[in-house]
């Protein structure tokens, strides 16, 4: 009886029983669900075994061609449907590289057979097409391993109708180890954590977010003090998934972390002593205020934006890059509202040596509107449009119309490049057009929300685009920048990667993201406001040391996630600790690495990943590698700094003569912003006692070890 019900239900799923089988609605989804149209099979760019389907069925017309017409129609036999390759192959009636995908007599089989028997027609013109999918529940918590939950999926069609398509779509889990999903859409809890279940059919996709917790809510969950709205949403989520946040960080850790995260520089031993020695209960918020006003903060941010805007490979070279870098630094220093800043950038034009924001558009001498569109949408709106240059995005809504429409805002933008010299310009030509590769027609400017725009003669249509982008209602703009700020401080975006917002990449904490965006808009698009909100939160000030409940948390910020210093931070820190400056050719003595807008004037910067890429927006590589390690343990740079007669260590050895205990603390404070722990101090003192003649070497070796330690290299 039960089997019978299931059969009827499923039969309806592929439309086999109640009405004529539709190619688009019934047949195409089978190939996605059975895995045939996936990217590693017939859905790949090259197809497989000479047979190519559109990826996840996003172009049924092409699939119809491939199945019915290509290769002389060898895949179908309308007179004898059961002899069709399109049935024999997936049922493994004859050898098939992909193995058996469904059984003979299965509902999939019957649907395809009946469609073939009825003449294998393509749906009539104007027949309803899918417009969107909805999944219920969209977010769900599974309590207890092995717990299950059925998802149900509804499709909405162009004629306004809807249909339960749960049986037709393909389900897949982003992380099978956390939650698996059956072909019928039943999710099973496998391990504590969170993931998304992707649902795909006919080029549409959607995701359901799933949390798995092992145990029912803890009865003895501790009460965690909340400093502000950030904590409210972070801790709400943590409580929901039975994770207890780490303890509040020590003053030493907070001090070092805040300095490095806000300003990019280490606290000096004197600054460290002052902060650690203070009994003021409000000393953390006082420090945050001081750091937020420091000029180094603006330089650190300017370097961040210089990476983001690909300044490292700006062909205008030194002068234009410096000008642009200084513009960024000044904007950050005065905390210019970010919407205004972006409007200024968007309208950039003119001479590269005199007009700072012209350099925003001057990445390569040949300006390509598509490249500009991709860059702006990805860096400032968190939308990766690039896929849609060559094909409609396989599992997002972005089409070639979106890509070329967005590019059309920049159709008149051009550059004049004269030997990297003072004659180089970014300007607007009188006319210009972006041509759609399919229609071969000029494309009208089109916003990512779908509305089109017209450009009146003599008008700079970028003004309208900038207004649209920075409008408080824009769904992308504020979320993208607050997410980027969040990631800079907390090591992971609420949406990660930060330039890839999409339905199938849901935020780890949507309420928090929305709230930060609202706060940002309400407080005049001020970056510093959001920084203060983050820095003041208990979330930011949590220890990096995990506890039993949060050891495996990598997304919910139940502790501070350590991150490696970037190249400039590291080099500046080595200079500060050693007291031996680094000279950069062409820059005045005392220049900090952080303030050099581009290029790689020192080995260490290049070795530790100071690359910005001309072609692409790319995260810096934070993976360690052997060249870096060799350079640190064995290289010239550190060796010279440790042994220089002008260095701090040489000076301190004299200054603290006979006071080794204090000298040890001094070295620890300088490098790690903490004093030596008793066991560390004891071990060193006994070595010093044993070999008094090697005092200098021992302190060199200690400094070497501290500067090579993970505790030094990581912000923690």
């Amino acid at each position: 009886m039960r089997a019978c019900c299931a059969l009827i239900l499923a039969a309806n799923a592929f439309g086999a029983s109640k009405h004529e089988v539709s190619f688009v609605k019934d047949v195409v989804p089978i190939f996605t669900k059975a895995g045939c149209a996936g990217s590693n099979c017939h859905g790949s760019v090259r197809g497989k075994g000479g047979f190519k389907l559109s990826l996840f069925g996003y172009e049924p017309e092409l699939d119809y061609e491939a199945i019915l017409k290509q290769d002389g129609g060898r895949r179908t036999d309308l007179a004898n449907p059961e002899k069709s390759l399109i049935l024999l192959k997936p049922t493994f009636g004859i050898p098939h590289g992909g193995g058996e995908r469904f059984k003979k007599g299965s509902l999939e089989y019957v649907a395809i057979r009946d469609w073939l028997a009825a003449g294998a027609k393509f749906d009539s013109a104007g027949s309803p097409r899918i417009v969107s999918l909805a999944v219920s529940p969209g977010e769900y918590k599974l309590t207890g391993l092995g717990t299950r939950k059925q998802l149900s999926v509804t499709a909405h069609y162009t004629d306004g109708s809807e249909e339960d398509v749960t049986g037709k779509v393909q389900f897949s889990s982003n992380d099978e180890a956390v939650a698996s999903v059956s072909p019928a859409g039943v999710v099973t809890a496998e391990a504590a954590g969170e993931t998304a279940i992707m649902i795909r059919t006919l080029g549409q996709s959607i995701a359901a977010r799933v949390y798995v917790v092992k145990d029912p809510p803890m009865r003895d969950y501790p009460s965690i003090p909340e400093n502000n709205v950030v904590d409210r949403y972070v801790f709400e989520k943590l409580r929901d998934v039975n994770v207890i946040p780490s303890q509040l960080s020590s003053d030493e850790h907070f001090l070092r972390r805040a300095y490095l995260d806000v300003t990019g520089v280490l606290p000096t031993p004197e600054e460290a002593e002052a902060f650690l020695g203070s009994n003021d209960p409000a000393k953390r918020s006082a420090l945050i205020e001081v750091l937020l006003q420091r000029p180094e903060r603006a330089e650190f941010w300017a370097t961040y934006f210089a990476d983001l805007f690909r300044l490292g490979f700006n062909e205008s070279r030194d002068k234009g890059a410096k000008l642009f870098y200084n513009w960024l630094r000044e904007a950050l220093l005065e905390d210019r509202p970010f919407d205004r800043m972006v409007r200024e950038l968007m309208l950039g034009q003119g001479n590269l040596f005199y007009s700072p924001t012209a350099n925003f558009y001057f990445i390569t001498r040949k300006l390509d509107p598509g490249d500009v569109a991709t860059h702006i949408s990805q860096s400032l709106l968190g939308v990766r449009l690039e896929c849609a240059r060559c094909h409609n995005h396989p599992w997002e809504k972005w089409t070639q119309d979106d890509y070329y429409g967005f590019a059309a805002f920049f159709s008149r933008l051009a550059t004049k490049f004269v030997n990297a010299g003072s004659e180089s310009n970014v300007y607007l030509r009188d006319t210009g057009a972006v041509i759609h590769p399919k229609t071969k027609q000029p494309v009208q400017p089109r916003y990512l929300t779908g509305e089109t725009e017209t450009e009146a003669p003599g008008e700079d249509v970028r003004v309208k685009l900038a207004a649209w982008m920075t409008s408080p209602e824009n769904p992308f703009f504020a979320r993208t920048i607050v997410n980027r700020i969040w990631r800079r401080y907390l090591g992971r975006g609420l949406v990660e990667p930060v330039d890839d917002f999409r339905v199938t990449n849901p935020a780890s904490n949507q309420k928090l993201l929305d709230t930060l965006a609202e706060e940002f808009v309400r407080h005049g698009f001020r970056i510093r406001y959001i920084e203060r909100l983050i820095l003041s939160s208990r979330t930011y000030q949590l220890s990096a040391l995990p506890n039993e409940t949060n050891r495996h948390d990598t997304v919910n910020h139940s502790r501070y996630y350590p991150k490696r210093m970037i190249a400039e931070q590291l080099l500046d820190a080595l200079v500060q600790v050693s007291g031996v400056e680094e000279r950069f050719p062409g820059w005045i003595p005392g220049t900090r690495a952080m303030t050099i807008p581009h290029g790689s004037p020192a080995d260490l910067l290049a070795i530790f990943g100071r690359v910005a890429d001309r072609e692409f927006i790319r995260e810096r590589d934070s993976d360690p590698n052997i060249t870096q390690v060799l350079h640190m343990i064995n290289g010239d740079l550190l060796h010279k700094k440790l042994t220089s007669p002008q260095g701090n260590l040489t000076r301190w050895l004299k200054e603290f003569d006979g006071r080794d205990r204090e000298l040890i603390d001094r070295v620890f404070l300088a490098a790690l912003s903490r004093r030596a722990e008793p066991d560390e101090r004891r071990a060193l003192l006994s070595q010093l006692e044993k070999s008094p003649a090697e005092r200098g070497e021992i302190f060199q070796d200690l400094t070497w070890a501290l500067l090579n330690s993970r505790e030094f290299l990581y912000v923690h």
Partner: protein, 425 residues
């Protein structure tokens, strides 16, 4: 394909003078190669783009506005002629194939270099790894030496690991033509001995042990493995030996030429001998970009340097029996315009250019493909870069049909071409 008995026979033949010692060694190497793929690659990277019309594809009868001031000369293979500025290379023509019909469509350095090093056209959505990175990942290191080394240093981002982890990026060997050459950071600083190094390590270990509790992602452990690898490299006699170019006889160093390219090629041979899988040798970023005074540049410096370096490399590899297991490729990212510009230079020209390939089963004494009468476009048998890169993977033993995925799941094949049969694939 030669079994052990055939090798012994060949060896004994050698005693009677009909097979040279080098040939015999080559056969032995080949006998080994037949059972297990053990191919290494040396890429002589002519960064900036070498002019084909002045080097490997002479056009003495083209119009004067195009014609090289250099003359063609005969080689040791009848019917093959190359530039008179490459006389040593002319005597090795029986060891290589010249492709005269290489072609692609990218005329800017960065993007073209990316294509040549990775086998893929640049795509904003995929950061493709270079060949050496893929080979390092798929084949692994043979010993404590890094599998992928570049001499003297990366010419640009096209030599990186792309989307692969940083550990697959090339190790930079530095310029072996410097008088005091040593690999950066591989020797201990002058006044630090191993006893002190041990003290440093133990101090470091005690700080790191305390801090380990903060790591839940294993990233510190990964870093530690690099520290271990770095110590191994610093302590490894084999590594020191491989980089110790000063141990080469003076005559051999002279023969390669006392230039960055020459000593680089010699170091490359030492590294391949020591087990490195992929070595790039260049004389620096865009050095062959001769937009002005192309004949002076090539004639006075670049071609004599290349001639000595490459011809000696081929001869030396052959004599040591290594040519059968070493694939040598000499190419830049494109050729240069047939038409000579107002500055007596030649500009970028990807439409047709020449590539020299030798070793690892590549036939010697072969010309493949042809450009048209003026060296402008391909006349016969066009060769696409993705096919060349696929051939490299195929020879080395990398499954070139393997797919990698970007962070958002976009798939791409390691190489998108087909192995080229004329290169013995």
């Amino acid at each position: 394909m030669m079994d052990r008995r055939a090798f012994l026979k060949a060896g004994s033949l050698g005693l009677f003078g009909s097979v040279t010692w080098g040939d015999a060694l080559a056969m032995r190497a080949q006998a080994g190669a037949a059972s297990k793929k053990n191919i290494s690659v040396i890429h002589v990277l002519l960064s900036g783009g070498m002019s084909h019309m002045d080097t490997l594809d002479m056009k003495p009868h083209t119009r004067s506005a195009f014609r090289s001031v250099f003359q063609p000369i005969k080689t040791n293979v009848a019917g093959i002629e190359i530039s008179d500025r490459l006389p040593l290379l002319a005597r090795q023509a029986d060891k290589y194939t010249i492709i005269r019909s290489a072609t692609h469509k990218i005329s800017v350095h960065e993007r073209a270099s990316y294509l040549v090093m990775s086998g893929h056209e640049p795509l904003a959505t995929v950061n493709h790894p270079s060949m050496g990175a893929v080979i390092g990942k798929e084949m692994g290191a043979r010993n404590e030496l890094p599998p992928y080394i570049t001499i003297p240093s990366m010419t640009g981002l096209w030599e990186t690991a792309g989307l692969l982890p940083g550990k697959y990026a090339p190790f930079e060997a530095g310029d072996p033509n410097r008088a005091d050459y040593s690999v950066r950071d591989i020797k201990l600083p002058m006044d630090v001995d191993w006893a002190r190094m041990e003290r440093r390590r133990s101090l470091l270990a005690s700080v790191d042990d305390k801090f380990r509790a903060y790591d839940t992602s294993g990233v510190f452990e990964t870093a530690s493995s690099f520290y271990q690898a770095a110590y191994d490299l610093v302590r490894s006699p084999a590594a020191k030996e491989a980089f110790a170019i000063e141990q080469e006889p003076e005559a051999m160093r002279e023969k390669y030429g006392r230039t960055s390219l020459g000593q680089g090629a010699l170091l490359a041979r030492r590294l391949v001998e020591a087990g490195v899988r992929f070595v790039t040798v260049s004389n620096g970023y865009y050095k062959w970009d001769h937009h002005a005074k192309v004949f002076e540049n090539l004639g006075d410096r670049y071609l004599p340097e290349l001639d000595r370096a490459l011809a000696t490399l081929l001869e030396d590899l052959h004599n040591r029996g290594l040519l059968q297991t070493t694939l040598v490729i000499a190419t830049g990212e494109f050729g240069r315009t047939p038409e000579i510009n107002v500055n007596a230079g030649r500009d970028h020209w990807p439409n047709v250019f020449s590539i020299l390939v030798a070793g690892a089963g590549v036939p010697g004494g072969q010309i493949w493909g042809a450009s048209d009468a003026d060296g402008m476009y391909v006349k016969d048998n066009p060769v696409e870069i993705p096919d060349l890169v696929t051939t490299v993977f195929h020879k080395v033993g990398v499954d070139f049909t393997k797919e990698y995925h970007t962070s958002i799941g976009r798939p791409f094949r390691v190489a998108e071409g087909k192995p080229l049969a004329f290169l013995g694939a």
